[in-house]
Amino acid sequence: MVSKKRILSIVFSVLFFLSCGGGGSDDSGGGGGGGNNDEFLQRIIDDYVDNVVIPTYDLLRERSTALREACEDLEADPTEENLDAARQAWFAARIPWEQSEAWLFGPVDFKGHDPALDSWPVNRTDLDAVLESDNELTEQFVRNLDPTLKGFHTAEYLLFAFEVDELGSREFEYLISVVRDIESTAEELYTDWAEGDEPFGEIMKGAGNNAVFPSQVSALEQIIEGMSIILDEVANGKIAEPFDNQDVEAVESQFSFNSRQDFANDVRGALHAYTGDHPGLGLIGTGLNELVAETDPELAQRTEDEINEAIAAILAIPQPFRDAILDPDAADEIVAAQEACRRVFDTLNEEVLPVIQQ
């Protein structure tokens, strides 16, 4: 007797072949053209890695070191000026981190560097318990703690929620270990992309020759997706959650009053990703904008304009963000910023992506 499973199998295989075998556009190569096209796509991928991602992570590790040094200076000499300098160092380190959120993929994900650096909220109950405990607050000790007990937001809490005379030796001990841990993690993140046996930067540049990026187009899609995801996150998560719920506690960088800068840098990262440039570091390269311009120069320019408009709209929100969300007069600006981010998201997904996929 023929088995039910065998009948099902045969039927399904016939239907499957009718439906899915072959067909569909060819995505097995590069942009579908000859050698010239592949080289062009390669330049875009290379410049993304070499001009944008790695230099940003390099800046992050530099500024994490500066943050650690500023905190050590503060511990050695706890003055208002040194606290202010440490706070400025925190702001400075946030810039490349937030920009890098336009490419939240790779080692930052699968090695856990994102939660280690940027977990939120901070576990204040446990943090207080740690400070009150007898444990020696070494870097190794902090490294083994839950991500909500370390990283940028824990450092933010310690640096911004206290006056200089409220910071005791215990707080300093913990702060130093936290910023050392940030420095180590930033170093690892850079190394994961740029050095060692199989740097992720090389994997991305090797798109078309590996399973992570099976084609050059898949790498370009990844670039757009990274941008797209952060724009969605800013509009519909970071701004929306506190704004829609009128909840100050849901604001991420609330102690430092740095939210707008964080959001603006998120979108700046997307701009760098799109253009292959990092103007602040004097790096100019070939970007997706040039690829799009080959087919549709108006779209290429409009996309760039929309990204810049989103940055401007975010910075137009009255400072500080945590007060703006409760201020009826600021509602227009907040909504405008969300809309500007969503516009870029739509342009990227509905217009730019299809051009890339041709």
Partner: protein, 462 residues
């Protein structure tokens, strides 16, 4: 006619009946799509997740909302996105209190990386524990009818992390031993087997009489669609007594529904031990994060998450898009597809199913390609965890859905497959197939290397 004979005939009528309906609908779908477009036009492919499908082969492929969500559902999905990403902390806290005191990790996303699978890792490294260990006491008493008897003091799961000042239940270490073999054609291969060590706070190992099972989190895409597959469809593919003599004897796991206090078909989890997504979510909140909910209040007068949050998280997992297969006309992939059917893989990894009714209209009546029958199968001694789970024996596993499996390395950056993540490649995963799948595995092994490669390419295109 014998009673068995009558049942067989009745069964066959039902089977052919539903099969006829399915074929008619699918054929109509195909021809309808061709209508009015003239001859020679391509038949549009059946999409992996039906109308929920999206085109995305990047590392963010599992994070898209289903493509067919209504405006209202889309809004709700966005809110569920937030709750699914909530990072929990020790109470009291203003934002997301409720963690612990015992837990495995602090948010859904911490283990289901980018809504995909986790890793077979435990401890305090950057990622902390991305897997967990289920335990049970074979000599104990189940908490629910047919359930897994908990280990006294530890329950059914080891929580190897704790909030500050509390002691975790145990320290878990996972190591591996290599097992090598050779294909009939002489090509060597190497597999790895897990070596699990569980040390209790006093320093002694967990008693060897207790049963353990390492579990790596599976991806969370397409789950709503799996929830919407009608029971009759699942049962139609079941053949517990192997009456048709083909060596495959899939059967449903009948599990306890905590809310209705009834037994019903299980669908979710490595042994299909959860009947629906809400129970899966509530259990995960409770067991994996120590967060109480209205469904599992755990003695808290006010649950740590409310009804709305539990509902939103459940909704999020119901409404994630399934990414489409990679578009390619690589002849190796086509050949590999053929091998998938010829070898018999498709007998359990069913390539075509249709959903039925569901509370969410977007999930209804979708023709999907999950590559699973949601049934339990004996996979042999090599892969056995020897830990029964409701009606699943220690050798049985639910057929894993293979949709989007080709995206594993793009989404996660690393590969690991099977319940404990032991398989480092798709090839290794196939080599672990035994029991009911022994014949299919042997067929794979007997193929020339080039042909084996084509089957793998096919899987990578999913």
């Amino acid at each position: 006619m014998t009673r068995t004979g009558e049942t067989e005939t009745g069964d066959l009528y039902k089977f052919f009946g539903s099969l006829f309906v399915l074929i008619s609908m699918v054929t109509a779908l195909l021809f309808a799509a061709c209508d009015g477009e003239g001859s020679g036009d391509e038949i549009p492919p059946i999409r992996a997740g039906g109308d929920t499908s999206v085109e995305n082969r990047t590392s963010f492929a599992f994070e898209e909302p289903a493509a067919n969500l209504s405006e209202e559902s889309f809004e709700k999905h966005a809110q569920g996105d937030i709750t699914f990403g909530d990072v929990f902390v020790t109470p009291p806290a203003v934002v997301n209190p409720g963690l612990g005191p015992l837990f495995n990790n602090v948010s859904c996303e911490s283990c289901h990386i980018k809504n995909g699978r986790g890793l077979p890792e435990f401890g305090n490294t950057g990622l902390r524990s991305l897997a967990l260990v289920r335990i049970s006491d074979p000599g104990g008493t189940p908490d629910v009818p047919g359930g897994n008897p908990p280990v006294e003091g530890l329950g059914n799961q080891i929580q190897d992390h704790a909030t500050f000042g509390f002691e975790p239940e145990a320290d878990v270490t996972l190591e591996w031993e290599e097992v090598s073999g050779t294909y009939p054609d002489g090509t060597p291969y190497s597999l790895r087997r897990p070596l699990l060590t569980i040390i209790l706070p006093g320093g002694e190992p967990l008693g060897s009489n207790y049963l353990t099972s390492v579990r790596v989190p599976p991806p969370v895409i397409g789950l709503g669609l799996l929830e919407a597959i009608p029971e009759e469809v699942i049962l139609a593919a079941a053949d517990p007594g192997d009456e048709d003599g083909d060596g495959i004897s899939g059967r449903p796991n009948m599990v306890w529904n905590n809310i209705t206090s009834t037994t019903e078909i299980g669908r979710f989890g490595r042994k299909a031990s959860a009947p629906n997504l809400r129970q899966q979510a509530a259990t995960a909140y409770s067991e994996d994060m120590g967060v109480s909910s209205p469904d599992i209040p755990g003695g808290d007068p006010v649950p740590e998450i409310d009804e709305e949050t539990l509902d939103l998280t459940t909704f999020y997992t119901q409404t994630l898009a399934v990414p489409l297969r990679a578009q390619t006309d690589d002849p190796d992939v086509v050949k590999g597809e053929g091998l998938f059917f010829d070898l018999g893989c498709s007998q359990c990894h069913l390539s075509l199913l249709e959903t039925g009714d569901h509370e969410l209209p977007e999930l209804r009546n979708q023709v999907i390609q999950p590559f699973t029958d949601l049934l339990l199968h004996d996979m042999g001694e090599g892969l056995a965890d020897h830990r029964p789970d409701f009606q699943a024996t220690g050798r049985e596993w639910r057929t894993a859905p293979l949709w989007a499996i080709g995206l594993t390395v793009t989404v996660l950056g690393l590969q690991n497959y099977l319940h404990d993540g032991r398989a480092r490649t798709l090839e290794e995963a196939i080599l672990w197939h035994g029991g009911e799948a022994e014949n299919a595995k042997d067929g794979f092994m007997s193929l020339p290397g080039e042909e084996r490669g084509k089957l793998i390419k096919f899987l990578q295109s999913l």
